[in-house]
């Protein structure tokens, strides 16, 4: 870092130009007043109540009003949606999906099970009355499953 080895004289002469870049006239006369005025506004703002602050903020920047409106609308819709869902939702196991019984293929069940569930007329009279009123017709699996077209 040998500064003497490099001659920066001309660069420093050029940089002198930067000192002549000046802000508009009266800028420095007015700046302290602007700063103190902003400080006064900030203090007033902080002393005000929450609702007053919010009102001022919305008044100064309409985008806050839009944002607040959208947020309130979303909250309202979400609340209504929640209430509606709670009212209509079934409770407990009743909400579980039910399978259509008539589509069950008994052919796939184990032999023992199909025997006990046999729908053919039985010699046994036990529970006969019960089954007299309930005689579903079992649909063969071949009728349900699509036929293979080889």
């Amino acid at each position: 870092m040998n500064e003497e080895g490099q001659n920066f004289d001309r660069l420093r002469q050029a940089l002198a130009l930067k000192r002549h870049e000046t802000p508009p006239p009266r800028y420095f006369t007015e700046l302290p007043g602007k700063i103190l005025s902003r400080l006064g506004e900030l203090e007033k703002f902080e002393d005000a109540s929450l609702w007053t602050r919010l009102g001022r903020l919305i008044g100064e920047r309409p985008i806050f009003a839009t944002g607040a409106g959208v947020a309130a609308g979303c909250a309202l819709l979400a609340g209504i949606g929640f209430i509606v869902l709670q009212d209509t939702a079934p409770t407990g196991t009743a909400s579980m999906p039910t399978l259509p019984v008539h589509n069950m293929a008994f052919a796939d069940a184990p032999r023992g099970v199909t025997d006990s569930l046999s729908l053919a007329p039985s010699n046994s009279n036990a529970g006969k009355d019960l089954f007299n009123s309930f005689q579903p017709t079992a649909t063969p699996a071949s009728a349900i499953l699509p036929s293979r077209a080889d």
């Binding site: 050029a14 002549h20 602007k34």
Partner: protein, 203 residues
């Protein structure tokens, strides 16, 4: 901004008065704070402006700097001078601002004052028999600012504080919270870079 700042001695010479003004400002005396603003506004503005090359940004940042300083004034213990402390606030604000506006071109230069044409340094630079001796001051100003903006924030800051504002290495080290060796090496590197960018104008 027409004269380079005196070294840190100026700041230390005014230190007792600053201390008194700060004490009064800490007790909500706005007149005292007004005096502190008037005392340092040109230097702070100069630093921020030379960092951003944009008057509007500099204006906002200077106002925000003094507002932040006022709000933090109660916590100012006087470990450093008010001058160094407020400078640090300005520098940090400016660097944060520059990070945010990184991809935006934002040059908005101030006009040159009437003394520019009579500045001995500039007279020498422009009137010498160089290939670009006909270059107008405004053109040089534009190229100079473009070259400055090509430097990193830290390097630009060192050039602005030392070569433009005339602060001493020690004072810059305090502001940048580093040692004077770092300040010197950054300054050397920054000058090399600037010299490269402005080679056509500095032959």
């Amino acid at each position: 901004m027409s004269q380079p700042l005196a070294s840190a001695n100026t700041a230390s010479a005014s230190l007792p008065e600053d201390v008194e003004l700060v004490r009064r400002a800490q007790n909500d005396d706005l007149d005292a704070y007004d005096e502190l603003i008037r005392r340092y506004q040109e230097r702070i503005y100069g630093t921020v402006y030379h960092m951003t090359s944009n008057h509007e940004d500099a204006n906002d940042l200077v106002q925000e700097t003094f507002i932040k300083a006022h709000r933090a004034l109660k916590s100012f213990k006087g470990d450093s001078s008010f001058f160094t402390w407020v400078y640090r606030i300005a520098v940090n604000k400016t660097i944060n601002h520059l990070k945010q506006r990184k991809n935006r071109s934002g040059i908005s230069l101030n006009d040159l004052d009437f003394n520019a044409e009579n500045d001995p340094d500039l007279v020498a630079l422009i009137s010498d028999k160089t290939p670009r001796r006909d270059a107008a001051l405004s053109e040089l100003q534009e190229k100079l600012n473009e070259a400055m903006m090509k430097l990193s924030d830290q390097h630009r800051l060192v050039v602005a504080l030392h070569d433009v504002q005339g602060l001493a290495h020690e004072e810059i080290a305090k502001i940048m919270a580093c040692n004077t060796g770092t300040v010197r090496s950054r300054l050397f590197y920054a000058r090399q870079q600037l010299q490269g960018h402005l080679s056509d104008y500095l032959k």
